[in-house]
């Protein structure tokens, strides 16, 4: 037997994931409860916005005019602050309560177990076997140094009293209890020792309470969410609408529960294996454990059974996989030491990384929601997202760096190379999934993520950019993790901390940058805005991020060089030569481009171009040094395998960042020698800006660089160090020349980028949401024209052609509505009959053409307004609007069944309004419906204007809905003007088109 000095490894990072998952799900469920139980705050916010003429739905888009200016933001914030704070508090409460519920369940479970154990234990004097077992147990407790509150109590239970397994139960601040069935006392002593040491391993790992709390994880989510949504039963009329809204939320909750159950099971399996390993380490032999576990089932035999039938075999495979996935104990073969490192490989594999990605991104989105409820966050705009991203990045780094470090160590210990494709794929998939979804019930009662709502209709570019950024961050993480030295080295703790800081910083800057770039790019597809934002982000937001990454990479690279598997380096001169050449070439080229052109710079645009050019050259010098050093394979033959490229990443990154910074210093020196910018802050910016641009370039290009370097490692056996230095200088010089000559326009800042960037918000603010169209009655028809003539479909289509020019910018054509209108079951009966008569009369009248065009436009603050313009040409002239007037006379007040309404009905009116101004007989009707949707008034207004020109009935209708109250007077005026303009425009076309 060996000494039991080393405690079993703790699984803190995995427990952290479980707690975060619980907190996120709790926050989502609490938000769902808030939305389901009362719409007071959201309704008040929407009403307030409606009173100010702001449609709440319009605020969700990235191009909302209301969020472009400080004054607009203040108006919006004045309305939504109460709701945002209420939402924030609910989320925080849920994030605390659900983990607390799991904790209480653990305590309740522990108390229940102790209560059931009370009085049922086998008496210490009951038999010789139980006495021997007690002695043996005490012996191991003494030997392992378990004293005081950490010394567990042994309870021997009668056969089958609590199943046939030994277990440990714990309560906070109480000594744990190890429960062993009596039958275990009759085992061989070595086998009994295995069981006891397994349980004592849990005691020494101090995770008994954790594991007990984790037991409930996964089972709580869906019931808690259903409970939170239960107040919705108050609205039975809306069940179909509620079902449609919350079905994706529930489906997501089920999926996440399955994921969390899988994670929980894997965590518990990992914990059991750690306990087994501890027992084996103490005993020094696996024989007793193997004897206890028995012979594992033959894999071949098992597969043979599974593969014998088609559907049945598939079903059996699914069931077997599911059972394996949620089993809390690993298979006997794994436990019996058949594959000692399999569990640790799993820890850094696809599944755990994907879950970490999901949770990190969900943490960012949930924290963003919570933090946005504060005044300072709302006014500062980006700060809440930056802080939220820092939390997400820390979670990611704290979980993934240790797990990937172990993955790399295990492979190194086995003399093999770890495969990183699975973990990196897991990172990309998990992060994108976490970006697209949110904690079930959270936010806007939707399964979609909070940030993607900003990209409504333009999601794919966002997903693509997120995937690229994740891949870059993941390769950076893998490089840092792979270079951390093995356990036992004094530098290891420093290196792990440095790697975590560097990775968290990269994560926390990369994703908000990507999101803000998308926010800037998507509304106008403006690359210039992206370039300018990218340049400025490093100066205004993440000033110290590159320095943190540099510090982290430097520390990790230093620890790696002192570690046992450091590469054999014959001489450091080639590397230093590359850095030196890059610094000089980049710094001098940047300084010359500045110094030679600054005299002719006569505008802010020109200065901005020069500043960006010089910092880009310095950043490129750093990137070139990084690339060359990444490609420089050490002389160690063992490092010829492709995966050995990754440990070179930290040193290459450190060299790259240092090169960019030093090139900035050279640039500053040249500029200062020319008499410009001798202040310290100019020097700081000259250093910091290239480093920021290098960080952006690293995130975007590192996966490709690493892949090519790995390929080059395979192909080339000899490093050509002599060519590296001069080659680097040539490449940097060529890049500088190309940049100055304007040969790389997509990357280089354009001559008007700065002024475009400054002007963009003002331009947007100046653009009205709808261009008010003057309503001009048709002029006199030309001789021979007859607008009242019968028309065919072609003539009607021609009359409607070009009508969209009167619509505000951003209109969309909708498909033609070919469905016949369904009869409405409205009340009173006289109103319904009058409308039926009118409809039947129209349908019965023979016609030569009937065409309508439908569009959706933004009108004022309302983003979705439907406009329909149509012409019906009858065989006989239409006499008047008698039937319409009869209907409006009967429908002064009416009710319509509405499944969305709290009461099951919507109330409204159908009235006649002043006729449109036109030389032809006209008619106008206003149909207004008001429904209470979960106490929030929703008003739908339908304006219809008609004009009769002989055989032809021209119609224009505009439909708009508004939450919180009716649209503002100004919006209604715009609507009326647009309707009249469209009507007269069509009439004008009819008057001027010659008869066919």
């Amino acid at each position: 037997m060996t000494s039991a000095a080393v405690s079993p490894r703790r699984l803190s990072s995995l427990y952290l994931l479980v707690v975060v998952a619980l907190a996120l799900l709790g926050g989502g469920a609490a938000t769902a409860l808030r939305d389901a139980s009362s719409a007071r705050h959201p309704a008040a916010a929407i009403r307030c916005l409606a009173e100010r003429g702001i449609d709440s739905a319009a605020l969700q888009g990235v191009d909302s005019v209301w969020l472009q200016t400080a004054a607009g933001r203040d108006q919006v914030w004045a309305c939504i602050a109460g709701n945002a704070r209420d939402l924030s508090w609910w989320m925080l409460l849920g994030a605390v309560l659900l983990p607390a519920a799991a904790l209480l369940s653990m305590i309740g479970g522990g108390l229940a177990v102790r209560w059931r154990l009370a009085g049922s234990a086998v008496s210490p004097a009951a038999g010789a076997a139980s006495g021997r077992a007690r002695d043996r147990f005490e012996h191991w407790c003494d030997r392992l140094g378990l004293t005081g509150r950490r010394r567990p109590r042994l309870v021997i239970t009668p056969p089958s009293r609590y199943g046939r397994q030994a277990f440990t139960t714990g309560l906070p601040f109480r000594a744990p209890v190890v429960v062993v069935p009596l039958s275990h006392a009759y085992l061989e002593p070595a086998q009994f020792d295995v069981v006891v040491l397994h349980e004592l391993a849990h005691v020494r790992a101090r995770d008994v309470s954790w594991a007990s709390a984790v037991w409930w994880t996964g089972w709580l989510n869906v019931p808690v969410l259903l409970l939170a949504l239960s107040p919705l039963v108050r609205w039975p009329h809306q069940r179909s609408g509620i079902f449609a809204v919350y079905l994706p939320v529930l489906a997501l909750a089920v999926v996440l529960s399955a994921v969390v159950l899988g994670l929980r099971a894997a965590l518990l399996r990992r914990r059991e294996i750690a306990a087994d390993r501890y027992a084996l380490d103490v005993l020094g032999s696996a024989d007793a454990l193997r004897a206890l576990l028995g012979r594992p089932a033959s894999g071949a035999a098992g597969r043979g059974r599974v593969a014998r039938a088609g559907v049945a075999g598939l079903a059996r495979r699914v069931v077997a996989s599911t059972r394996r996935g949620i089993a809390v104990h690993p298979p006997a073969a794994v436990r019996a030491d058949a594959d000692p490192v399999a569990p640790q490989r799993w820890e850094g594999g696809f599944a755990v990384t994907a879950v970490a990605g999901v949770l990190a991104m969900s943490t960012m989105q949930s924290a963003y929601t919570v933090l946005s409820a504060t005044d300072w966050a709302w006014r500062s705009g980006r700060l809440s997202l930056d802080v939220a991203a820092a939390l997400g990045g820390l979670l990611w780094a704290c979980v993934v760096v240790p797990a990937w470090r172990r993955r790399a160590r295990i492979a190194a210990a086995a003399g093999s190379t770890p495969s990183w494709s699975g973990p990196i794929a897991g990172a990309v998939l998990g992060t994108v999934a976490g970006f697209l979804t949110q904690a079930p019930g959270g936010g806007a009662a939707s399964a979609r993520g909070l940030v993607p709502v900003l990209f409504a209709g333009r999601l794919m570019p966002g997903v693509g950019v997120l995937a690229v950024v994740t891949a870059g961050t993941a390769v950076l993480t893998a490089g840092l993790a792979a270079a951390v030295p093995a356990a036992g080295r004094p530098e290891r703790a420093w290196a792990v901390a440095a790697a975590v800081v560097a990775v968290a910083t990269a994560w926390a800057t990369a994703f908000p940058t990507a999101i803000w770039m998308l926010v800037g790019y998507l509304p106008g597809a403006s690359l210039s805005r992206v370039r300018t934002s990218l340049m400025g982000a490093g100066l205004w937001e993440w000033r110290w991020a590159p320095l943190l990454v540099l510090a982290g990479c430097t520390l990790v690279a230093w620890a790696h060089r002192r570690g046992p598997d450091a590469p054999v380096v014959r001489s450091r001169w080639p590397g230093l030569a590359v850095i030196g050449v890059a610094v000089l070439a980049g710094g001098v080229a940047a300084g010359l481009t500045w110094q030679l052109r600054i005299g002719a710079a006569d505008s802010e645009d020109a200065v901005f171009v020069l500043v960006s050019h010089r910092s880009m050259i310095c950043a490129f010098a750093g990137w070139a040094a990084l690339a060359v050093l990444l490609f420089a394979r050490p002389a160690d033959p063992a490092s010829s395998s492709p995966a050995r490229v990754l440990p070179r990443v930290p040193s290459a990154l450190a060299a790259g960042f240092a090169t960019a910074a030093l090139a900035g210093v050279v640039l500053f020196g040249i500029a200062a020698a020319g008499g410009r910018g001798r202040e310290v802050d100019v020097l700081v910016d000259a250093v910091r800006w290239p480093m920021w641009q290098l960080l952006v370039a690293v995130v975007l290009t590192l996966p490709g660089l690493a892949a090519v370097a790995a390929r080059a490692d395979r192909l080339s056996r000899r490093a050509r160090g002599w060519a590296a230095g001069p080659g680097t200088g040539v490449v940097i010089t060529a890049f500088s020349a190309a940049l100055v000559a304007g040969a790389i326009p997509p990357l280089a800042v354009g001559p008007h980028d700065w002024s475009d960037y400054l002007a963009a918000p003002h331009a947007k603010r100046a653009a009205p949401a709808v261009a008010p169209t003057p309503s001009t009655p048709p002029d006199d028809p030309p001789p021979g024209a007859d607008p009242g003539r019968p028309l065919d479909d072609a003539a009607v289509g021609a009359a409607l052609t070009g009508i969209h020019r009167l619509l505000p910018a951003g209109y969309r054509r909708l498909p033609d509505d070919t469905d016949a209108a369904k009869p409405l079951k409205l009340q009173p009966e006289a109103c319904r009959q009058a409308l039926d008569r009118s409809t039947d009369a129209q349908r019965a009248r023979p016609r030569t053409a009937d065409t309508a065009r439908r569009y959706t436009i933004a009108l004022g603050p309302h983003p979705e307004v439907t406009v329909e313009v149509g012409i019906v040409s009858y065989r006989t002239p239409v006499p008047d609007f008698t039937l319409y007037r009869e209907a409006t006379a009967q429908c002064g007040r009416l009710t319509i069944p509405s499944r969305a309404s709290d009461t099951g009905t919507a109330e409204g009116s159908y009235t006649e309004g002043p006729p449109p101004r036109s030389p032809y007989p006209g008619f106008r009707s206003d149909f207004t419906l008001t429904a209470s949707v979960r106490t929030l008034p929703v008003v739908t207004m339908w304006l219809a204007e008609y004009a009769l020109a002989g055989h032809n009935l021209v119609s224009v209708s505009i439909t708009m809905s508004s939450s919180g109250g009716p649209p503002t007077e100004a919006t209604r005026r715009d609507r009326d003007r647009l309707a009249e303009a469209l009507l007269n425009a069509v009439l004008q076309r009819l008057r001027h088109d010659p008869p066919r």
């Binding site: 199943g163 030994a166 039958s183 914990r271």
Partner: protein, 182 residues
């Protein structure tokens, strides 16, 4: 008579003419344990007593309330599984009435009540489970023991050894002369 057979350390039995015997299953189990793993006799006694008290082979489920996670190791000892194997096999061969009759018979005072009365632990007598069977049924019981043993988690080899031991005890019961102290 049956009670006396239950106390017989050699597997209490009541032989009859033409190969039919009335045996006590608990006695058979006891004889098998004594012959193979005598140190587990106490365990068998505990198991039989718990059965007598009405507990099933698996006892109440542990763990659904959380609070603990088991070791996942379930060692199988002869003294623990032989009684469930024997009763299950007998039910298969002779019908469920055997087990039902055993469970529904008049029971002695519960153990905890006895303890409460006496205030101290006392040696507990094994309960009796008499069944009557002939030679062919003994063969069938042997095969059934293999199946039930495997179902309870024994390997085929272990289940066969157990079944052979049971069969041997049954054969002895059928062939040895009756010992009647009355």
């Amino acid at each position: 008579m049956v009670d006396r057979a239950a106390q017989d350390a050699d597997g209490g039995h009541t032989p009859a003419a033409d190969g039919i015997a009335t045996v006590d299953l608990v006695g058979v189990a006891r004889s098998v344990v004594v012959a193979t793993v005598p140190e587990q006799l106490d365990l068998l006694t505990e198991v039989a007593t718990r059965w007598e008290a009405g507990a099933g082979p698996d006892g109440p489920r542990r763990g659904w309330t959380g609070g603990s996670v088991g070791s996942g190791i379930e060692p199988l000892l002869l003294g623990e599984v032989i009684l469930p194997v024997l009763l299950g096999a007998s039910a298969e061969v002779l019908g469920d009435a055997v087990v039902a009759a055993w469970h529904s018979r008049p029971r002695p005072v519960r153990r905890w009540r006895r303890r409460a009365r006496s205030g101290r632990d006392e040696p507990v007598a094994l309960p009796a489970a008499p069944v009557t069977l002939d030679a062919s049924q003994a063969e069938a019981l042997r095969s059934a023991c293999v199946r039930h043993g495997a179902a309870l988690g024994l390997s085929p080899e272990e289940a066969t050894v157990l079944a052979d031991a049971v069969y041997g005890a049954l054969c002895r019961a059928m062939t040895e002369p009756r010992r009647d102290d009355d």
